[in-house]
């Protein structure tokens, strides 16, 4: 499966496919934007109290996750109306160490808004999008212990 960028200004997806980082950066380019910030979250070889992480398996409530990404994009645009393009892509399925699990890109006329929006998007994604991480490490396997209750709405102000 290959992800195809959409026609509009926001590229939001929850997918089993490998995340196309270069294509996401390309999508975010805009003649009016002088700042493009890209954050990639990658699979790390350890978790809190769990050395030797080998794989992560992400499960999503797909309909709810896609809705939440849309809400989050709208919240970011309300806060930074000058934003150019936004990308939020999240993997599902089993990933090995080093693979990209999430990509967030924000473009804006100037760097401050691009940095601030990208930071806001990844922080709020973790609170508002229904996705769960299952870890397999040297000593066993289980759901991530770094979980927080799902928030129905993105924060209006930066935390």
């Amino acid at each position: 499966m290959v992800l195809i960028p959409p026609e509009g200004a926001d590229w939001l997806a929850v997918t089993d496919a490998s995340l196309p980082v270069a294509q996401a950066l390309d999508f975010a380019g805009d003649p009016s934007c002088g700042g493009v910030v890209c954050f990639c979250g990658t699979v790390r070889d350890h978790a809190e109290g769990r050395p030797g992480v080998e794989t992560l398996t992400y499960e999503a409530y797909r309909e709810g996750a896609e809705r939440a990404l849309g809400e989050l994009a709208a919240a970011a645009r309300a806060r930074w109306p000058e934003l150019g393009r936004l990308v939020m892509l999240h993997r599902t399925g089993t990933l090995v160490v080093g693979e990209v699990a999430v990509v967030v890109v924000a473009s804006a006329p100037h760097r401050n808004e691009a940095f601030d929006a990208a930071r806001y998007l990844i922080d709020e994604l973790k609170r508002t999008v229904p996705i769960w991480k299952h870890e397999r490490w040297a000593g066993g396997s289980g759901w991530s212990e770094c979980a927080e209750p799902l928030s129905a709405q993105p924060a209006i102000e930066l935390s």
Binding site: G41, R44, Y58, E59, Y61, G64, R127, P130, I131, A147
Partner: protein, 79 residues
Amino acid sequence: MVTVRLFGPARDLFGAPSCVLDATALDVLRDELAARGGPSFAALLARSALWVNGEPAGASLALAAGDEVAVLPPVSGGC
């Protein structure tokens, strides 16, 4: 009847990815699920959000036949 879908650790503790219940309001359904799923599941359910038909829902929302309720335990997306 209302279809309930369970995700992540809630699915594991409940022991099934879905079930069908007869409940007319969301708070009633929450109590029924807690009773069915056992103490560990009930403790997680207390920290879980319930969405109806793909959207966040008020705690005592009325339910109709054919509605789908999602049980969403604390989330751990990202990295």
